[in-house]
């Protein structure tokens, strides 16, 4: 196996643990009605965001989905401003304006979780156009799911990216359900990556619960985009451990199915490799869990201690002030 550097792999596990423990805590706090709104848990899909973002530079872009906390964490957004955003606090990444479905950090190239399914396709293409004009060698990764792939915007953006050879990686997380509906009921093909053929671009499908497999496919697609080779479609087969959103009774799948799929949990699988390959010792692994638990606890404390937004600010930031004659 051609493994990434040890430091990269340690950081990948750290990212996966951050996502897992952050999301478990978020779920608990939503259920306890401590957090307003609703949330879509990323638990079970950690390998997808982690493996896909691991080859990215800080100045690369990602577009995300309604299930976007994992993407944000994998792109380097801190747990404190992320948790504070979910709590609706001024210290949140969007100062409490966005909430769970709209977490964004443009300073890290995280162009926003997006409550509109398929909303990210064209945004990523646009980021690709701007990269192409700057010749900056950046890459834009567009995360979406097996639901989003059936939006018309998928076709429009794939075609445009292909014809303009834009530096975009279309990263499909196939978690098997579009909201409550199984993929087999909505989609006439089994292997979603075959859709790449229609645009004359490379498409590949990997085990999305194997972070090293995701990393390998991501590395190839990102390098291709960065070197002017144009877009690719990477499909990551995964499974969401919890329902579509908080409060989903999950009547559309059996407990046995969920239990079976939990057996493919990406975290223990990766930990096993790290121990076998002696990338880390078991005590180091345990310490990492403890450290991340504390990080998550601290993020909740940070959120709780942060001020609510001033109601008088509700009309701020609708427009960027522009002087007459422009800002030049």
């Amino acid at each position: 196996m051609n493994l990434p550097p040890a430091e990269t792999m340690r950081h990948m596990l750290l990212t996966m643990l951050r996502i897992r423990l952050f999301e478990e805590r978020v779920l608990a706090d939503y259920m306890a009605r401590k957090i307003p709104g609703f949330t879509h848990s990323y638990v079970g899909e950690e390998a997808a965001a982690t493996g896909m973002c691991a080859p990215l530079r800080k100045d690369d872009y990602i577009t995300s989905t309604h299930r976007g906390h994992g993407h944000a964490i994998a792109k380097g957004v801190g747990l404190n401003p992320l948790m504070a955003e979910l709590y609706g606090k001024t210290t949140g990444v969007c100062h409490g304006r966005g909430g769970s479905m709209h977490v964004a950090d443009f300073s890290l190239g995280m162009l926003g979780a997006n409550g509109i399914v398929g909303g990210g396709f064209g945004l990523a293409a646009g980021a690709g156009i701007s990269i192409q004009f700057r010749k900056s060698g950046q890459v834009a990764v567009c995360f979406f799911g097996d639901g989003g792939i059936n939006k018309g915007t998928f076709h429009e953006a794939m075609n445009l990216a292909a014809v303009m050879k834009l530096p975009v990686v279309f990263a499909c997380e196939n978690n098997q359900f579009a909201q409550y509906t199984a993929m087999s009921r909505t989609t006439s093909i089994k292997d979603l990556s075959t859709r790449a053929v229609a645009y004359g671009i490379p498409g590949t499908t990997v085990d999305g619960n194997d972070v090293l497999a995701v990393y390998g496919a991501a590395r190839e697609a990102v390098d291709r985009a960065r070197s002017g080779g144009g877009p690719s479609l990477v499909v990551m087969e995964t499974y969401r451990f919890y329902g579509h959103s908080v409060g989903d009774a999950e009547a559309y799948r059996t407990k046995d199915e969920v239990a079976e799929r939990r057996g493919f949990d990406p975290i223990p699988r990766f930990e096993k490799v790290l121990l076998e390959q002696k990338v880390m010792s078991d005590s180091e692994r345990q310490q990492m869990w403890e450290d991340v638990k504390k990080e998550v606890e601290d993020s909740v404390a940070f959120a709780l201690a942060s001020p609510d937004p001033d109601p008088a600010s509700a009309l701020d930031d609708l427009f960027t002030p522009t002087p007459v004659g422009g800002g030049r």
Binding site: R97, A104, L123, G126, S130, L160, T320, T322, G326
Partner: protein
């Protein structure tokens, strides 16, 4: 000074804006070919790859503008007919308009969507509409609608400089009209109405093609009816220069609002409500509205004329306002009871 059509004036504007800032790019269908009104003619020759021909994919055109704008470019998209923006209404409303606010002010979305609206030569229901009210209803969008070639140029340059999404509407019927246009680079602020004609009897508020009809109506009112009308050309619908309207209505105490879009839920309804809220005591007559009747724009010329208002309807509305006399006060319920 040059004597230019709207197409020539906005072509000038594109050229000036693109020369001034290399971050300005243009994308849309057929633009390397020049555009229906010559508004993009020659840009490809001068600016090359900054002029991008796009597939007929309205959603990705608009979303790509948002993505490009949020990452440092200043895209201008040609949406052709305004009806075609509806294929990208999701991207306009859910992405372009919301990006800055929803993400807590951390990003700006400087982009312009150019779209042709209004009736022309029996183009019928899907190529004749004026849907500015749909855009004006959404927070976070600016809406521009010029009525002179000179304004068209200055407002377009300013729209491209603006750090927000701007819907730049171009009335098809008036595009061939020519007017004096200053050479070189100049801007006209968004949110500043123009008083096209001063008057004391009634205020006519209009924009885009209806500002031309409004000017004709003013002349008829003066020569045939002895009515001295004041014509306010809004130039931008968002931001709305309500101060200019209020100043004028406070003076004339009567208002007629004209547009080619539907009356129901139209821009005139909003302006009328604000006049009533803020200037009720000044009014000598109910606020009049002139706009399209609540039907799609039909094909047959006689039907088209039956739906879309002409200058005569502005004249009639202004006359009604001026001739209006308040009915005697009704007895109150209390006095009836006694």
């Amino acid at each position: 000074m040059a004597y230019l059509s709207f197409g020539q004036a906005t072509n000038d504007a594109m050229r000036e804006a693109m020369r001034a800032d290399e971050k300005v790019i243009v994308m849309g269908l057929d633009i390397r070919w020049g555009g229906s009104f010559g508004q993009f003619r020659g840009l490809y020759d001068e600016f090359g790859d900054r002029v991008i021909d796009m597939p007929i994919s309205e959603s990705v055109i608009v979303a790509a503008c948002v993505g490009a704008a949020a990452t440092g470019l200043r895209p201008v998209a040609s949406m052709s007919f305004v009806e075609f923006t509806l294929g990208a209404f999701d991207e306009i409303v859910n992405q372009a308009a919301k990006f800055r606010y929803m993400f807590g002010g951390q990003v700006s979305v400087p982009m312009v969507l150019r779209a042709a609206d209004g009736v022309i030569k029996s183009a019928a229901a899907q190529h004749s509409e004026s849907i500015e009210a749909l855009f004006a209803h959404v927070p976070g969008l600016k809406v521009v609608a010029a009525s002179t070639p000179s304004d068209a140029k200055g407002l377009l340059i300013q729209s491209i400089l603006d750090d927000n999404p701007v819907i730049y509407l171009e009335n098809k019927r008036i595009q061939p009209l020519k007017g004096e246009v200053a050479e070189g680079y100049y801007t006209i602020p968004l949110g500043q109405a123009a008083v096209r004609q001063e008057g004391k009897d009634v205020t006519i508020v209009a924009y885009s093609g209806m500002a031309i009809n409004g000017a004709q109506a003013c002349e008829t009112l003066a020569t045939e009816h002895g009515i001295d009308a004041e014509l306010i050309d809004l130039r931008t619908i968002v931001p709305l220069d309500f101060e200019a309207i209020a100043r004028s209505v406070a003076k004339t105490r009567r208002a007629v609002i004209c547009h080619e879009g539907w009356l129901s839920g139209g821009v005139g309804a909003e302006i009328s409500a604000r006049i009533t809220e803020q200037l009720f005591a000044d009014l000598l007559a109910p606020v009049e509205r002139v706009g399209a009747k609540n039907a799609h724009i039909p094909f047959a010329p006689v039907l088209e004329r039956a739906v879309v208002p002409a200058a005569e309807e502005i004249v009639a509305a202004a006359k009604r306002a001026v001739e209006y006399s308040r009915p005697p006060a009704k007895p109150s319920h209390e006095s009836v009871a006694r």
